[in-house]
């Protein structure tokens, strides 16, 4: 939007004051004659307030002269009040279509002597923006957002709504080198390219997301450390796999040996089983019986641990419930009280039932009562029915049964040993025993190897998991590093561009100010603004912080304000106050450089000034009584 033109500023209820500034028709400047205390400064500061602070942040941010914050309601009135500021303006869009806007801020509240420092309570502030006579209406913070985006009032309200206070502030900033940073910050803000700033913020957001994803500070060092870790793990995997292969080979060899031994044993056993010799047949029979007894014995013992819950069972449920009942009855254990009630009584120091405050005696009594009240879970424990499975272990029987099996086994052993065998049969038995021992040893060895194989497999799985995790992390690190490097490059390009733009913009601003100064004060005068030295007025080519006197420096402030504003109109409070002889030139300059000039003049400022701004009669604004 451009070609902004203010048509009306209406103030109603501000500190009990009402006035309306109705500007001349579009294309014409307007001069208002406003004597002391008729609202000149107020108008400027209300405009800055409306344009500079969004609705949700407006309360307590209004400034008036030296009061910061300042009150807006009438401090002589009681009860509910309203302060309403209406600003009407028009602007052209990109297709040169004119649109009409009415921005209204309504603050409601009341004067209150007990709420320092403002002594007022603002109950609500509401912003409304009517576009094109109500075709579209925005409310709340959306008003500020729209106006800021379309007209950038928020960026320069302090300069296009200009007054003596602001001029003095600029003069002070420009006259002392200690203030250079503040002045530069103002200019840098003006010269910051919004689009570049937006890109930079986006890149920063992207960087944060990448870093968040990587969960670590990306660096070559991190990458190197991870790579070393990964190489170590890959080495461990190779070692473990070699060991695993070795174990697998050993198991294969052992199994082969075992199958041979088992085959030998089977042959030997067949020889023993098919032998026609009576002694051998008898011995074989006892051995079978002995084996059965040993297996039964082992099963019996296993069952003892398998059914370990039977160990705990006991037929004492009735007895224990009887004990619990006796404790409860003989102990006259109180029924559960409301423990929370007691705790609340003690905490609040008053009876929660009757509401009376607790005296010392009552408090002591309640404390004793508290000791008598079991916590809920204790109450449940004491009053619940105890259950336990009846005894089922019968350890004595089990013991006797096993004892019999052991005795049977021993007896069979005696019988076996009592049988005399021929030398050849004894050899067969000895050979079988030898084979049994070898088979048992091999079984143990294979079991050990299988355990080792299981351990190695688990270790390899674990190592592979870790390696995969590290590999993924490294990939992410690499990938993220590439992205981050690109972000860094792009940020640097943007920052370089910003610096160039800033430098160029500073130069342009310097030229604009200088041209302004020359046009007002004459060609002997110029101005220079640099990032190194700040703002200086020059006379005959010599620059300094004290050149030009008060009048010259006031002009310099005007020109600085003009350079800082991004909108066409300028609304000035007491424009020619102390300007002196260059006032005609200042008037001509303002007319030439702004599409709309609105002056809020003292009656003493009109000569050689107002008529240059506008050929129309100035509009007198009288002090509207409260």
């Amino acid at each position: 939007m451009n070609s902004i033109d203010f048509s009306l500023i209406k103030v109603a209820g501000y500190r009990g004051r009402n006035f309306t500034l109705k500007m001349n028709p579009k294309g014409q400047n307007t001069v208002f004659i406003m004597d002391g205390n008729t609202g000149k400064t107020t108008t400027i500061e209300l405009l800055r307030w409306c344009f500079g602070h969004r609705e949700s942040e407006a309360s307590g941010t209004f400034k008036h002269m030296w009061a910061d914050p300042a009150h807006v309601l009438d401090d002589t009135k009681k009860g509910h009040q309203t302060c309403e500021i209406t600003i009407q303006f028009s602007a052209l869009d990109d297709q040169e279509h004119e649109h009409f806007f009415q921005l209204k801020r309504v603050a409601e509240g009341e004067h209150d002597d007990t709420s320092p420092p403002l002594n007022e309570k603002i109950s609500s502030i509401k912003d409304t923006l009517e576009i094109d006579h109500g075709i579209s209406v925005l409310t709340g913070d959306a008003v500020f957002d729209y106006v800021s985006q379309e007209f950038r009032f928020n960026e320069c309200a302090e300069y296009f709504c200009f007054d003596g206070e602001k001029a003095r502030e600029v003069m002070q900033l420009a006259s002392d080198s200690k203030n250079i940073n503040t002045l530069l910050a103002l200019v840098n803000r003006r010269t910051t390219h919004p689009k570049l700033e937006e890109y930079k913020q986006r890149l920063n957001g992207l960087r944060e997301r990448v870093l968040e994803e990587a969960k670590t500070r990306i660096s070559d060092r991190a990458l190197e450390l991870n790579m070393n870790k990964l190489n170590g793990i890959l080495g461990d995997i190779r070692r473990a796999e070699n060991e695993l292969n070795g174990f697998n080979n050993d198991v294969d060899v052992c199994r082969l040996a075992l199958s041979r031994l088992e085959s030998d044993r089977q042959q030997t056993q067949n020889q023993i089983t098919t032998a026609k010799v009576n002694e051998l047949v008898e011995r074989n029979k006892y051995e079978v019986e002995q084996k059965v007894a040993a297996e039964r014995l082992s099963r019996e013992r296993d069952s003892i641990y398998e059914n370990s819950e039977d160990w705990i069972s006991a037929s004492v449920a009735d007895e224990i419930n009887q004990i619990k009942m006796e404790v409860k009855e003989k102990g006259k254990l109180p029924e559960p009280y409301r423990r929370d009630l007691i705790e609340t009584c003690l905490a609040c120091k008053k009876c929660e039932i009757c509401g009376r405050p607790l005296d010392k005696t009552s408090e002591e009594r309640i404390k004793k009562l508290e000791l008598q009240v079991a916590p809920h879970d204790v109450q449940v424990f004491l009053s619940s029915n105890f259950l336990i499975s009846p005894s089922s272990l019968n350890a004595e029987n089990k013991y006797n049964s096993i004892k019999k099996l052991v005795a049977q086994h021993d007896l069979l052993d005696v019988k076996i040993k009592g049988i005399k065998l021929s030398e050849k049969d004894a050899e067969l038995i000895a050979r079988r025993e030898s084979l049994d021992k070898q088979i048992s040893a091999l079984d143990t060895r294979i079991a050990g190897l299988e355990r080792d194989i299981g351990d190695r497999k688990a270790w390899i799985t674990d190592l592979k998991g870790k390696a995969k995790e590290l590999q993924e992390k490294n990939e992410a690190l690499k990938e993220n590093k590439i992205i981050l490097d690109k972000i860094d490059d792009s940020t640097k390009i943007i920052e370089d561009a910003e610096e160039k733009i800033k430098s160029k913009a500073t130069e342009i601003i310097s030229n604009v100010i200088s041209e302004g100064v020359s046009s007002i004060l004459g060609s002997r005068f110029s101005a220079r603004f640099t990032q190194a030295e700040g703002l200086m007025l020059g006379e005959a080519g010599f620059y300094g912080t004290e050149k030009g006197g008060y009048s010259g420096r006031l002009v310099l402030s005007y020109c600085f304000a003009e350079a800082m504003t991004v909108v066409g109109p300028i609304i000035v409070d007491t424009p020619a106050g102390n300007i002196g002889s260059p006032r005609e030139n200042l008037a001509s300059h303002l007319v030439a450089n702004h599409n709309q000039v609105v002056l809020l003049c003292l009656p003493t400022e009109l000569t050689n000034f107002a008529n240059i701004i506008s050929p129309k009669e100035p509009i007198t604004i009288k002090n509207m009584e409260k």
Partner: protein
């Protein structure tokens, strides 16, 4: 509900037992007896009960810190059934030590102590940190010069051959049962309807042992 989720303190012997079981359970066909315990927590439970039966002592009630044993073992198991029975046995032992309330001179003090004791039993942190290790330690105390501790013998019961030993499963079960009967006879039966009645129900012979000095 009492759930162990984390480590509990265990004695050296119990630690060996748990490792043996854990190791054997990895094999498809375990050859030792200990691996027959249905759950890893079962020997811990058996040992705690044995410690209670053998000592017939109440746990330290004012112990502020956890009892530290030589080792710790990690579990994640619900043991509510066990703690309920164990707590009731401890409750009976407390009543035996403190008498029934009608014998108490100061009823208020009696209630106060009773509530405090039961609260302690029901405090899971205290149960797992103090009560359980207290009785596990009791189960690992040797019984005289000639007999090693219950837990030591349990650890040796894994593979004992075809012989009767004082560390074979059947002997340990029998000893456990005798200790249980003794506890019932000394603690529960006199309070809850007579020793003979309880013993009959339990189906165990009258063990002629000297009552322990508790």
């Amino acid at each position: 509900m009492t759930k162990i989720k984390g480590t509990i303190q265990v004695t050296e012997q119990l630690y060996d037992i748990l490792n043996m079981i854990s190791e054997q359970k990895k094999n498809r066909e375990p050859n030792g007896h200990l691996a027959r315990f249905a759950r890893l927590i079962d020997p811990v439970i058996i040992a705690a009960f044995f410690g209670l039966y053998k000592s017939q002592e109440l746990p330290p009630l004012e112990e502020e810190e956890e009892i530290k044993l030589n080792n710790s073992y990690e579990f994640n198991v619900d043991i509510s059934d066990f703690t309920d029975i164990f707590n009731h046995f401890l409750f009976c032992l407390w009543v035996k030590e403190n008498g029934l309330p009608d014998k108490s001179e100061d009823m208020m003090k009696y209630r106060e102590r009773l509530y405090h004791f039961v609260s302690k039993l029901l405090d899971d942190k205290y149960f797992l940190g103090v009560i359980l290790p207290f009785y596990l330690r009791k189960a690992d105390e040797s019984e005289g010069e000639s007999t090693s501790s219950f837990l030591h013998r349990l650890a040796n019961s894994d593979d004992i051959g075809i012989v009767l030993q004082d560390y074979s499963p059947e002997f340990l079960a029998k000893e456990f049962s005798l200790m249980q009967s003794e506890f019932i006879s000394n603690v529960i039966a006199p309070l809850g309807g007579g020793e003979e009645n309880a013993r009959k129900k339990q189906g165990t012979p009258n063990v002629n042992r000297k009552p322990r000095n508790t």
